[in-house]
């Protein structure tokens, strides 16, 4: 009875959310938030990758912005300077970033815990410096990156790009959810639970860590490419070490082990940064710092997950009261 109720609820909620998502960019609805929503979509993609890595597999990465950056830069350089088709550029960027993550993944994942955190942080710093020094335009970045298009249909307005970004974002979320609820997902969680036990039941711990690292890098790369092809301007500042930390903030708010929480985390941070605290100087970092500490100390499962639990409890109590005569 309760299960069926829950099932109905879920479908209803999903349908309502989808409708809401589709209507957002229309001017008569929430059109003024289209650009922010695009950023939320992009950051959600990066955050989900981190959730798979950090929340499910238990491996820290403080360098996810590096992959976001390589995705953006490879895509931009190929399409603008080499004249490669933007879609192909995006694909090559994802493949190259994935390959990069694979190559550095094996040595880096011989490290654990604290040392892994610092190594990935160092990696992020190196990539950031290289983008500044070797990237076209140096610290100022590059402009005039071509838009994506399908046939004659060019994604040249925020309205159009909104749907493009959220198509990719939802695809990434669905794929991630499927992975989590599978043999692979169980293997990842097993590694988080106990590496010794995971090995003892035949899970290739090192390989799974590297694979999920590569997947998270590919997600970030895709998001970076989408960013490049729609801002038509990128600069290294968008991919610095602080951005990696902000991605952690998003994951922590959404719940490290929660796929759909990533949207909530990305939305909270983006709305704080681009709406509520715009022009308030460094207050945004102060608040991120507080969030990181408070959420990790008092609700380690994440703000979103905690809220969902509270909502579930409230609903259960409500249903029980209804059932009593």
């Amino acid at each position: 009875m309760l299960a069926r109720l829950k099932g109905k609820w879920t479908y209803f909620v999903i349908a309502a959310l989808l409708l809401f998502l589709i209507l957002i960019p229309f001017r008569w609805f929430l059109g003024q938030y289209t650009v922010i929503m695009i950023f939320i979509g992009l950051f959600t993609m990066v955050t989900v990758g981190l959730c798979l890595l950090l929340g499910y597999t238990g491996q820290v990465s403080l360098g996810q912005a590096a992959f976001y950056g390589t995705g953006a830069y490879i895509s931009a350089v190929l399409s603008k300077i080499c004249g490669v088709n933007p879609w192909l550029s995006m694909l090559i960027a994802a493949a190259a970033t994935g390959a990069f993550a694979y190559v550095i993944g094996y040595p880096i994942f011989r490290l654990r815990g604290n040392y892994l955190a610092v190594a990935t942080l160092g990696l992020g710093v190196i990539v950031y410096i290289l983008l500044r020094q070797l990237g076209p335009g140096g610290p100022d970045g590059m402009a005039g990156i071509p838009y994506l298009s399908i046939g004659g249909f060019v994604f040249d307005t925020s309205f159009k790009r909104y749907f493009l970004v959220w198509f990719f974002c939802l695809a990434v979320l669905l794929i991630s959810q499927n992975i989590v609820r599978s043999r692979t997902g169980r293997a990842l969680r097993a590694i988080h639970g106990s590496e010794a036990a995971a090995e003892s039941i035949g899970i290739n711990v090192d390989q799974f860590k590297v694979k999920i690292f590569v997947l998270s890098a590919v997600y970030a790369s895709l998001a970076g490419s989408l960013l490049a092809h729609q801002m038509s301007h990128i600069s290294p500042g968008s991919f610095g070490p602080l951005v990696s930390v902000i991605i952690i903030v998003m994951a922590v708010i959404g719940g490290l082990a929660s796929i759909w929480g990533a949207i909530f985390g990305a939305a909270t941070v983006c709305i704080l940064k681009y709406e509520l605290l715009l022009g308030f100087g460094e207050w945004d970092i102060v608040i991120y710092g507080l969030i990181l500490m408070l959420v990790t100390i008092f609700m380690p499962e994440g703000l979103f997950v905690r809220l969902r639990e509270l909502f579930g409890q409230w609903r259960l109590r409500y249903a029980q009261r209804g059932a009593e005569p």
Partner: protein, 256 residues
């Protein structure tokens, strides 16, 4: 004498200067329950860790079903048919009881990232088999009613049964149990003995490291005694109970 499922030849392990295992020769008969006993620090768990590949041997070799396991990594050994439990249980606390066992089916299924990501039909089929098998092992250890509970919400006795079920789910030929009886009450130990006998009846060879002598003597068809990293005796339970060196080794420990 029937064939050996596991053999070690002059197997040694040293940690720095400390010799944990010293030239141990073993031949574990297939389809039997073998017990390894010995005082604390005798090298029993070290032996398990070498057989499962947690760390490499300093010297000597290990043969599983006649094949040497020199550089085979732990996860490959599990796939070959060696399963184990741990002294400190090591369940996956971030999963339910059933999921713990399903995870044990890992080496007996193959679909990977792509199959999972796109929910290919093959993934579906394999998932069905995995769930069915997991339910089978869950019921075999008698935890059927707790399937959807968090694994760590079970009391210790049931956690240990769950750990055995998880190991069984890898469908091993050889099962290594590291102190399965520790911390269990009398009734639970009885259930454990029954379970181990049933496992053996399913054709799985069992090696157990155990301190509880009545449990060992009631179960084991062959007993190996280690002391300070060396094999000091082996034989049937009756023979071992009379062995002077064994008695001396244990008395030595009592005095400590």
């Amino acid at each position: 004498m029937s064939e050996s499922i596991l053999e070690t030849k002059s197997l040694s392990k040293a940690f720095g200067g400390l010799v944990a295992l010293d030239k141990v020769d073993l031949a574990v008969e297939a389809g039997k329950i073998t017990a390894i006993i010995g005082p604390n620090g005798a090298g029993k768990t070290t032996l398990f860790n070498l057989v499962t590949g947690v760390y490499p041997a300093s010297d000597g070799e290990i043969l599983f079903q006649g094949t040497p396991l020199k550089d085979t990594p732990p996860h490959r050994r599990a796939a070959l048919g060696i399963a184990r439990t741990f002294q400190n249980v090591l369940l996956f606390g971030n999963m339910t009881v059933l999921e713990n066992i399903m995870t044990g089916q890992h080496p007996r299924s193959r679909y990977g990232f792509l199959g999972a990501a796109l929910r290919l039909p093959r993934a579906h089929r394999e998932e069905e088999t995995i769930s069915l098998n997991a339910m089978k092992y869950l019921n075999m250890v008698g935890l059927g009613t707790y399937a959807t509970q968090n694994a760590l919400s079970l009391p210790l006795g049931q956690q240990k049964l769950l750990a055995i079920a998880r190991a069984l789910a890898t469908e091993p030929q050889l099962l290594l149990l590291d102190e399965p009886g520790a911390g269990l009450n009398k009734l639970e130990k009885q259930e454990l003995s029954d379970l181990i006998r049933r496992i053996r009846e399913n054709g799985i060879s069992v090696i157990l490291v155990e301190h509880d002598m009545p449990l060992v003597m009631g179960l084991a068809e062959w007993v190996v005694v280690l002391d300070s990293g060396q094999k000091i005796a082996e034989g049937t339970a009756a023979q071992i109970q009379k062995d002077q060196r064994v008695i001396a080794a244990y008395l030595g420990e009592e005095v400590e």
